[in-house]
């Protein structure tokens, strides 16, 4: 554990210990969501069910079941492998405990695929401070993943992951809220995809290049900090914005910008949002085309580690379907969320184009449609 993070956590805990405030348990609600991602030759669909319920006045328990059904013919797959289908199932359980103005939460998450298993344990604490103007939260996660490779029963490796989180929510004025998050994540183990390959110049190959397996470093540490603002407009609506800065020991840098507007009207709630992601620096060991085989200790051709940018336009509508409630249900909403995403890569070439010299292929880009439909009930 980095020393600076340890000191920071100790001081923050000291702040919590000497301060008084009031915490509240999350509200009771149930959500049933269907999701769909379609873009870049990949479709991912499935449900997500989240239920949260208070009991004994001091506890709240939450459970989530989530499924990804993947059909992949992505550019990586069709240029170096064969299309495949895959299913990932994830469940999580969480418990919140309100005690003497502290809110403590514990959680476990399990994710299973045919060639990958992940288990994560979370702990967090939060408290309102300074006349409830400030909410400070701290969190820690410990995870262990097991990586396998289809068709190779002898391959088995792991990843150990730790995460340290600090969050502050601050009332600035009677119409303005500020949120700040900071998170450090450390990974150690087999961090690359066991199937993905890099390409290198090979004059003996008819196409001018050949493939070999990716090799990543076995450690990675990242820092991310995000600042969020939300402002209440005089006619009952809100505008909001966010900036997130990211960097890691693989030399990746990323900037995320968001701006949005929320507007309720006659039982409806509308939301529109623009999100821009810029990754001006990729991993130091990334290359679209290496000069020869085994040219470096570490090699990647994973497009998410390259220099690229993306834009996301979101439209969201929510309708109150149970005005006045029904039996034990206080409120219900029907929601639809649509995202149109565009990805443009500056150093990842489209190898579906043949007949050109290696490195002369056009740069790759793709767009995606992401849809969420869900119902929510409060009880």
């Amino acid at each position: 554990m980095p020393k600076r993070i340890g000191i920071l956590l100790l001081v923050a805990v000291a702040v919590l210990v000497r301060s008084a405030g009031g915490g509240v348990l999350p509200e009771d609600r149930a959500d049933v969501l269907l999701h769909s991602f379609d873009g870049g030759g990949i479709t991912v669909q499935g449900p997500s069910v989240l239920v949260r319920k208070q009991f004994a006045q001091k506890f709240s328990v939450a459970g989530n079941y989530y499924v990804d059904k993947v059909q992949s013919a992505s550019i990586d797959v069709i240029t170096t492998a064969s299309p495949y289908t895959e299913e990932r199932k994830q469940w999580s359980l969480g418990l919140d405990y309100l005690h003497d103005r502290w809110l403590l939460n514990l959680g476990v998450i399990n994710s299973e695929e045919s060639d990958y298993s992940a288990n994560t344990f979370n702990i967090g604490i939060s408290q309102d401070l300074f006349g409830d103007l400030t909410t400070l939260s701290l969190g820690y996660s410990l995870g262990r993943d097991e990586v396998r490779r289809r068709g190779d029963p002898t391959f088995r490796d792991h990843i150990d992951r730790q995460s340290y989180r600090l969050g502050v929510s601050q009332i600035l004025t009677k119409n303005l809220l500020l949120g700040f998050s900071f998170e450090t994540i450390t990974d150690e183990g087999f961090l690359n995809n066991p199937y993905r390959q890099v390409r290198y110049l090979d004059p003996t190959s008819p196409q001018g290049y050949s493939y070999e397996r990716e090799v990543y470093p076995r450690t990675r540490t990242s820092d991310a900090a995000a600042l969020r603002l939300r402002y209440y407009l005089p006619y009952r609506a809100a505008i909001y914005g966010e900036y997130r800065s990211y960097s890691d020991t693989w030399q990746i840098k990323g900037n995320t910008f968001e701006i949005g507007y929320t507007h309720p009207h006659n039982g409806w709630l509308f939301d529109g949002r623009l999100r821009f992601y810029d990754q001006p620096r990729g991993a130091s060991f990334y290359s679209d085309l290496f000069p020869y085989a085994n040219s470096q200790n570490f090699m990647a051709r994973h497009k998410e580690l390259s220099v690229f940018s993306s834009e996301d336009i979101r439209l969201e509508a929510s309708y109150d379907i149970l005005k006045g409630g029904w039996k034990f249900i206080d409120k219900g909403t029907l929601n639809i969320v649509y995202d149109r995403m565009l990805f443009n890569y500056d150093d990842f070439r489209d190898l579906r184009v043949t007949g050109v010299a290696p490195g002369g292929e056009p740069l790759y880009s793709f767009d995606a449609n992401v849809i969420q439909v869900f119902v929510s009930f409060w009880f």
Partner: protein, 84 residues
């Protein structure tokens, strides 16, 4: 050497956060709330929630994380998956 140079500004950020937390600990506990509890009805409105629908925001964070080099500071705790 490259790694050491990279760590220097990160440590600086950590020290700044540490100083902020320490200042908060020393001086902030008796702050008179400049927004009184009865002035917070706008802030309690659902349109002002940072995370109005947790089931949706968890999914959205997952969609972005598996397609970007960046990760973390989304306000929630995530688990691992082999979805890259």
């Amino acid at each position: 050497m490259r790694t050491l140079r990279r760590l220097a500004p990160r440590a600086s950020l950590g020290r700044r956060l540490l100083a902020l937390a320490a200042l908060t600990a020393l001086g902030g506990c008796h702050v008179e709330p400049w927004v009184k509890p009865y002035e917070r009805d706008h802030l309690a409105d659902p349109v002002m929630s940072f995370d109005r629908n947790p089931v949706s925001s968890a999914y959205t964070d997952h969609v972005h994380e598996v397609r970007e080099g960046s990760r973390g500071a989304t306000g929630s705790a995530g688990g691992g998956c082999g979805c890259n």
